[in-house]
Amino acid sequence: MNGEHGLRTKASSSRRGFGFHDQRTAYRLIFPTLIVIAAVNFYPLFKGIKESFYSYSFIRPWEYAFIGFGNYIRAFQNHEFWSSLWISILWTIGGVILSYVLGLIPAVLLDKPFRGRGIYRTILMIPWIVPPVVSSMTWRWMFSDLDGYINVTLSSLGLISEPIYWLSDTRLALLACIIANVWRTYPFFMVNMLSALSGIPDEVYEAASVDGASKWQTFWYVTFPVILPVTVVSTLLQSIWIFNNFDIIYALTGGGPAERTTTLIIRAYREAFYYLEFGQGAAIAVISMVMMLILGMYYLRLQARTEM
């Protein structure tokens, strides 16, 4: 709201069309951005929605025709769609919860200054800058059956006698993908929690300790309420990003084994660019977007309370 305040200074209120009151300048400044966003975001978006109502196969282009909700009905009738939806949900919720917890722990430990704090912080942020494809490739090598780091270490410690088939066992592949993804996303939570925690003055902690609060009570009654808004916002954003993620799973398992890691996003890709059924692929992508828009609207409402 500090913007509103500036409007009432003497310089700008003297005359209409002067300075920050000049509406035409304001529109002129956003015009180039509007044009580009219309061309690269909204035109493809509307075209994508349109194609989702058409029978549009690259192999049979002559069959191009409006079929209403045909692609959607076909998706909903396909049990593979529902299993992908379920995998998407597990992938998202599992990833968000794990990376939230893994982000919160170091954030709480790194809140107060101590020797070495900066080094810990720097190191723990590294996964976030590593290109997702690189981290997938490295985890793929880590998870490798006979010679990967994890299995070789486990067996040299005598913990396993047979290799664990992380990426080819249908029960483990999704878990392996989630682990690789959590490695990459937990720094996001750590950094955001740290910046929220730094807003709590030391006096509050001192007061709590004078009142005889235990460490756990202090966390639950002092710290947690303060970081709750950041928790909600960052969880929401990260859920959307994880749900929409393509790179990690594609480079790690390609959606296999037996489609056990085929999320809706991977399925949309496969329909469009493997089976060349653009209409069907677009329909699945639109369904994904609608689900994310529901979360997105909630995010905007939270955002509107703090911004603008």
């Binding site: 700008s12 400044l29 580009v36 955001n192 954003l237 480079a251 653009f278 994310m292």
Partner: protein, 279 residues
């Protein structure tokens, strides 16, 4: 008294032990990647050490001299720099407008910028593929530069708006009383003092473009046009399980980012704060 110091020391040990576990979880994959790239072929499957004992550069020589890797490096640099540059130039104008002016549609525009970042990439890439093939930009670097604006521009605009909001407007208003126009107040007063803000936005947008995979994967077909991330995935087919070459390529892609991260960490951190942008 004695009890108190004991519990202090105890908590200190617990704290460092937990943090070291996190360091291990974080660094093992990175060190495994690095050490694999340096290990001689004979030790690849026998030596488990995370810190290379001997440095063998033969896989570096192989990846750099006998594949298209240097070309991909150049492509990635050209594509990320161009799309980031365009995003900054176009986006800074809109960001200034959002930060300083009050007008009809302003809130809506701001919300559009945020909501755009929630579209799944796959939703845009399907129609974008059809559009690009119609205007003959498929398999060109220009096509990829343009599509990267789809995430670069909203990100840059929104982050820059946040930065301009922190600059007090009194200076510009004083300049405007002296007859300076809004545009020149922006160019002469705001831009010159926005160095740190623009740097962090530029770094963040560069990082997003450098790391991008999906658009490049769908649009680029000939190896000479590949970006690094796409090249790395194509190595997967080419080298199947030659992990020394794969990890060498992975290291070479990560090193520039890692270098700048260690050098300019505080600028990176800003892009990671929630609400700002895409991760």
């Amino acid at each position: 008294m004695k009890n108190k110091t004991f519990s202090k020391v105890f908590w200190k040990i617990v704290k460092h032990a937990v943090l070291l576990l996190f360091v291990a979880f974080t660094l093992i994959p990175v060190l495994w990647m690095l050490s694999t790239s340096f290990k001689p072929k004979t030790e690849l499957y026998t030596n488990l050490s995370l810190i290379p004992t001997r440095f063998d550069f033969s896989s570096y020589a192989h990846v750099w001299r006998e594949t298209d890797f240097p070309l991909w490096f150049r492509n990635s640099a050209v594509i990320s720099l161009s799309s980031t540059g365009l995003s900054l130039v176009i986006g800074s104008l809109a960001a200034y407008s959002l930060s300083r002016f009050r007008y009809r549609g302003r809130n809506l525009f701001g919300q559009v910028l945020l909501i755009i970042q929630m579209f799944p990439g796959i939703l845009l890439v399907i129609p974008m593929f059809l559009i690009m093939s119609k205007i003959n930009l498929l398999d060109t670097r220009l096509g990829v530069i343009i599509t990267y604006l789809a995430f670069g521009l909203p990100t840059a605009t929104w982050m820059l708006k946040g930065y301009f909001d922190t600059i007090p407007r009194e200076l510009e208003e004083a300049a405007m009383i002296d007859g300076c126009s809004t545009i020149s107040a922006f160019g002469r007063i705001v831009l010159p003092i926005s160095g740190p803000g623009i740097t962090s936005v530029a770094i963040f947008t560069l990082l997003l473009s450098w790391n991008e995979f999906l658009y490049a994967f769908i649009f680029l077909k000939s190896s000479s046009n590949y970006t690094l991330t796409l090249g790395l995935v194509s190595f997967m087919d080419q080298f199947s399980n030659q992990w020394d070459n794969l990890m060498t390529a992975a290291t070479l892609i990560t090193l520039p980012v890692l270098f700048f991260f260690l050098l300019l960490q505080k600028y990176f951190t800003r892009g990671l704060i929630a609400g700002a942008t895409k991760g």
